[in-house]
């Protein structure tokens, strides 16, 4: 029996995508081989690589002046790749709104002069700083931000008006809502939340920003090398790219990102409304900054939190334990979580509240 899986990443995938992968696993498209077994330079895989890129371009409206790269190492590797590629003046500012934002800021210090444009650490990362109050220095190469904070359940809904390129980590929000790619210099995302199995990282980068990597940049982290080779400089993570293609087809068939956003907003509204109307459950995030992907909440006590997580799992609602930094619970309701899963969670929350009030 399949469960409702609220894991923050790796996370639930569309059932129909898994079923297709299962069906094709021993023989992809009549080749007599699994998609995992074939040369990345052969026609069948090259077609997958091309279709995945074309579909992502279509879904996000990515213009030709941006390169789309399929790389490895997760967002954490991008924390180094971004400064190694983009820090040509040696100066960048960071918006520190959570755990990963903070790690990105720390990693960048290895490569240049970095400063904090704003931080929400003062209130345990439960809000997004006002974009009008950012301290953005003159002459920076870029401003880095985390678009959605997976652990703390916040998201950026408004961008600052600045001259420097904006670099955004969209690991937990990519394809969940419509964005204007041209407002960003670079977008990156680990695939394992909203796209595909772990092992694939998406980079979308304005072409005029690349080609000037630091001399010490490892060749695998050089965006220009990856762009020139269509992400096939060496063997790419073929299976996650194939899974991404299937997920992109699935999203397109459902009506694209606009349709995903509508259902994601509906799912999030259901859950937040229930929490806000409850005297038992609390979400501590500033309402206007709430994520539509990750919903952290607590019950009246740590003991009840632990009981909740354990009993929910028995009821087929799994991976609801909050991150070790925040405690409590967290429901990650990515694209692939059906609204029925959110309804089932709310029903369980009601029942648990009645039994434990």
């Amino acid at each position: 029996m399949r469960v409702y899986n609220f894991a923050a990443g790796p996370s639930t995938l569309p059932l129909s995508v898994l079923e297709t992968a299962q069906k094709e696993l021993l023989d992809y498209a009549g080749t007599g081989m699994s998609i995992m077994e074939m040369s990345h330079r052969g026609k069948p895989f090259m077609a997958v690589n091309d279709e995945a890129q074309a579909l992502l371009r279509e879904l996000l409206g990515i213009p030709e002046e941006y390169a789309v790269l399929f790389v490895q190492g997760g967002a954490t590797q991008q924390f180094a790749a971004v400064p190694l590629n983009l820090m040509q003046k040696g100066k960048a500012d960071y918006l520190v709104t959570g755990n990963f934002a903070s790690k990105a800021y720390e990693e960048a210090q290895k490569y240049g002069d970095v400063a904090i444009a704003a931080s929400s650490k003062d209130k345990a990362y439960t809000y997004i700083p006002d974009m009008k109050t950012l301290k953005v220095r003159d002459g920076i190469d870029y401003l880095h931000m985390t678009h959605n904070n997976t652990i703390f359940g916040t998201r950026i809904t408004e961008l600052p008006e600045i001259d420097a390129p904006i670099v955004a980590d969209m690991s937990s929000s990519i394809l969940s809502e419509e964005i204007d790619v041209t407002k960003f210099g670079l977008i990156y995302a680990g695939a394992q939340k909203n796209i595909a199995p772990a092992g694939l990282t998406i980079v979308i980068v304005r072409r005029d920003l690349i080609g000037k990597a630091a001399p010490i940049c490892p060749v695998m982290l050089d965006y220009a090398v990856q762009a020139k080779n269509d992400s096939l400089y060496n063997t790419p993570p073929c299976f996650p790219i194939y899974m991404a293609m299937l997920v992109f087809r699935h999203i397109k068939a459902l009506g694209g990102v606009k349709a995903m956003q509508k259902i994601n907003e509906e799912k999030a509204a259901l859950l937040y409304d229930f929490i806000d109307n409850s005297s038992f459950y609390t979400n501590r995030v500033n309402p206007k900054d709430r994520s539509i992907m990750n919903v952290p909440f607590v019950s009246p006590s740590e003991e009840l939190d632990a009981k909740f997580v354990s009993e929910a799992a028995k009821a087929g609602l799994v991976s609801l334990k909050g991150h070790r930094v925040t405690g409590g619970m967290r429901a990650s309701i990515y694209n692939a979580m059906p609204i029925e899963g959110v309804r089932a969670l709310i029903d369980f929350m009601k029942k648990f509240e009645m039994e434990n009030k």
Copy 2:
């Protein structure tokens, strides 16, 4: 219908492993989730990660003083990671015996003083230099070599007697023959040839060599960070790690690396004997340096080579085209290629020779 797939990598996987993966794809071990969908910090995946490491240690006899890491980026990323971690005196020597050996040497130049200990470029990489003639400098941090040259079909069967640690790229030979891990300071291998789908890189490193990475080393490339976190510093490539575990179980069930080596030597001997006794096919490699994993060969003309590759594919023997650098044909006969595949190839070669002599 499954074909015999002689691809150099990604390459054929054991059918029984693919069948297990297919069966479990929607529900791993009764969790109600795919192995691709679950948190890398949850018990089911942690058990996979632990078992994969334990089995690899058992199969290769890796002592406790070596760390085993599951990372990303392929061997090409290790071309940078090795000098970034190991070049504490800033000096290393490279044995240049092929395309990837040469790329490793080039990448290392970004990080220190590197020199060529020996090269076989003079004879188009068709031999391995005599280990007694290497020019190994005093005070180097390590000597780097490519254990098996996938493109040129050579392999190292003897190690030099030197004081510095030996670093070996075993991407196309790992688990194909018994090795004494303690003769090496570091072994790395892209998994996509002899182990698992692309997206996983294995690193086996003596613990006393790590913990002194260059300050500019990206955190994801820092072996000490990966070792300390059991390769879970960030989200690892979970699915390839799971597949590696299944392949390791499979190799163990077949009798371990010793048994694999015996069958690999038998497969290689069948093919080389046939080629050597033929006046139609030629393998240009120095006989004592021949790879038991990758067997390049040519027919009397380029036209016949092209016809061979095309007709073989129609007969269900696929991916026999040689690398673009060498031309001709190449049969990669990794662990997962059954001896029946090699026999079928030889039968086809006989038939093709008769029809085209």
